[in-house]
């Protein structure tokens, strides 16, 4: 017989919480598996790619307290490198192309991160924005990006040389697999001892320094992971839509990912997912309506409303409600 009597109430609570969380994850995964039979797979893939992008961004803002206003650079780098390689070398399989794009973003993240963490707070946001704008100008002029036109007709190819991704359903499950793996990585990072230190730095940096933590190294690692996953999102998006364009590198994109995270809930794992889903749906819906020209005004208004009265985001507000009423 298992010695259940040795569990303290605290351990019991912890075990229950983990059980609830796992059940929640499994239910979500089940929904994601049947979703392409209910909704348009290309739309779902777009949501997943942006959700991954937002999750990567949230790792930095929500857990390290660093507001990057230049994450578009990583999304675009992943997209352009993957797109260029897949279009130029027909023998290359998509997973290798995506890997190359991700690594390129990782490298860029290392360089930008090392520069940006030299300044704090508001300066950090301005530095990342300026660096990303430099990348934008580079991609306009660089010979391999197709300039204003972008890269078109990137082949989806065959996964491992075996499974054709031209089929939307195959593509969808591949994107879902990428998302789940990357999300699990973020989840592990956040709940690891490393993640705890990161949160400590966010709450009180001087204290963390006084306790002997190498704060800059912790921040840099977070920045690099975040940049790499943002690049992975961009690379995957390029394979799905078979194109890479300047839109991804523009600073509006950096602003959009901030909005997705803020709207969904900063510092909650699922917030960015919800936020990305909402913003992408909103953009898709508005594009077809007479309000199509007002997208950026509406996004701006949501920004203002979020900051004024909705700072925990949708997931954060729901968590507050649940805590208030059920505990």
């Amino acid at each position: 017989m298992a010695p259940t009597h040795s569990l303290t109430p605290a351990m019991q609570r912890q075990r229950n919480a983990r059980l609830r969380r796992n059940t929640f994850y499994l239910a979500l995964l089940a929904i994601a598996l049947v979703a392409p039979f209910v909704a348009y797979p290309v739309f779902l893939m777009k949501v997943l790619c942006f959700a991954l992008f937002a999750c990567a961004f949230n790792l930095l803002l929500g857990y390290a307290g660093l507001l990057s206003f230049g994450h578009a650079a990583f999304l675009a780098t992943g997209g352009y490198i993957t797109g260029y390689l897949l279009a130029s070398y027909p023998g290359l399989t998509p997973e290798l192309g995506i890997l190359a794009g991700t690594l390129a973003s990782l490298g860029l993240g290392l360089a930008f991160g090392a520069l940006a963490i030299r300044r704090q707070g508001i300066y950090f946001a301005m530095v990342t924005l300026a660096l990303a704008q430099m990348v934008f100008f580079f991609y306009i002029q660089a010979p391999f990006t197709g300039g204003e036109d972008g890269l078109h007709g990137v082949p989806r190819g065959e996964l491992l040389g075996l499974i054709s991704l031209a089929d939307n359903l195959n593509m969808y499950y591949f994107v879902l697999a990428v998302f789940v793996i990357a999300f699990a990585l973020i989840q592990r990072t956040v709940h690891s001892p490393y993640g705890q230190v990161l949160k400590a730095i966010r709450e009180n940096e001087p204290r963390a320094v006084s306790l002997g933590y190498n704060v800059d190294a912790y921040k840099l690692v977070a920045f690099v992971i975040s940049a790499g996953i943002a690049g992975l999102a961009g690379a995957t998006k390029t394979v799905v839509f078979q194109l890479a364009s300047l839109t991804d590198a523009h600073w509006h994109m950096s602003g959009e990912v901030v909005l997705m995270t803020l709207l969904g809930g900063v510092g909650s794992l699922f917030g960015p997912l919800v936020g990305a889903g909402l913003v992408v749906s909103l953009q898709t819906q508005l594009a077809q309506s007479p309000l199509g020209n007002w997208v950026s005004v509406i996004l701006g208004a949501i920004f203002v409303i979020c900051v004024l009265s909705f700072r925990s985001g949708i997931v954060g507000e729901i968590q507050k409600l649940v805590k208030k009423n059920f505990k």
Partner: protein
């Protein structure tokens, strides 16, 4: 013909002049950002949009109300500055007690609203604003031809920058402002109306942006997106100079304009990015910025 490193003198001086003009705008805008940052501790992401509103107000004033350039130069900063006062009173004040990053996000949202609304009415292509009659033509300086309007922009920008410096460093109001930057709570205890000071400061910073917008209207195409791309460069200028000193902001702005002009002469491909490269260099060598006090 005199040549400077293989470039004709007239071309060289012309580009330097263009760079200096750009630099004057960097200086005016980073000055406004620094003034706002000093007291409110937020980065005004709507600064570019407010600059654009200044240019548009001048253009529309001329087209629909027949307001001429000189009146616009006085009136528009007041009107747009008043808009800034309203923004501070109704929005920024409510989030003043929060992390200052929220101020950046809120003003970013406002910038999207301003820009998007004007794009809907006027499109993204620019309109031109006529150069005022008194400043048409130019003078031959011997080594180069100087269009009068450009000379005027440089003088006006410098006068306003120095005036702002004088007000902040040498007057009673400026002393309050500097004290408020150091310790607002103590100021309030001494009976100074700090909330009012904050409102006025934000309004003044916004008015500076609008003034720059009116100055820019006859030089650059007036379009809803004219402010946003400029603002990102100004951010880089602010990172380079640091926001600690007024004169530092002005000098960095002018200097970066010159650097940009020189790059245009010798390596035009990098003209767009040279300021960002300087920023990287400064971050590596002197992370606090050229005139910065704290990291």
């Amino acid at each position: 013909m005199t040549m400077i490193f293989g470039v004709p003198l007239a071309v060289f001086m012309g580009q330097l002049m263009l760079g200096l003009i750009n630099g004057a705008f960097y200086a005016l805008l980073s000055l406004g950002l620094a003034v706002i940052f000093g007291l409110l501790k937020i980065i005004n992401f709507a600064h570019g949009a407010q600059y654009m509103l200044g240019a548009f107000a001048a253009l529309l004033g001329l087209q629909y109300l027949g307001i001429n350039y000189w009146v616009a130069l006085l009136l528009v900063p007041l009107v747009v500055g008043a808009l800034g006062v309203v923004i501070e009173r109704t929005l920024l004040r409510r989030i003043a007690h929060l992390d200052h990053l929220y101020g950046l996000l809120l003003t970013y949202g406002l910038a999207l609203i301003f820009e998007g609304t004007l794009i809907n009415f006027f499109g993204v292509s620019g309109s031109s604003y006529p150069v005022p009659e008194a400043l048409q033509g130019g003078v031959n300086l011997g080594f180069m031809f100087l269009p009068l309007y450009r000379g005027w922009v440089l003088v006006a920008a410098l006068v306003v920058c120095l005036g702002t410096w004088f007000m902040i460093e040498r007057t009673r109001l400026g002393a309050y402002l500097r004290a408020g930057t150091e310790n607002p709570a103590l100021m309030q205890a001494f009976g100074v109306n700090v909330p009012q000071l904050i409102t006025l400061t934000y309004g003044f910073g916004v008015a500076l942006a609008a003034f720059a917008g009116v100055l820019a209207a006859p030089l650059y195409p007036v379009s809803p997106t004219m402010g946003s791309s400029l603002l990102i460069v100004v951010f880089a200028v602010v990172v380079i100079g640091g926001m600690g000193s007024i004169l530092g902001a002005v000098l960095t702005g002018l200097g970066m304009g010159l650097v940009e002009g020189l790059t245009k002469v010798y390596y035009p491909e990098a003209a767009n990015t040279v300021i960002f490269l300087v920023m990287i260099l400064v971050l590596m060598l002197r992370p606090a910025g050229l005139f910065g006090k704290e990291a």
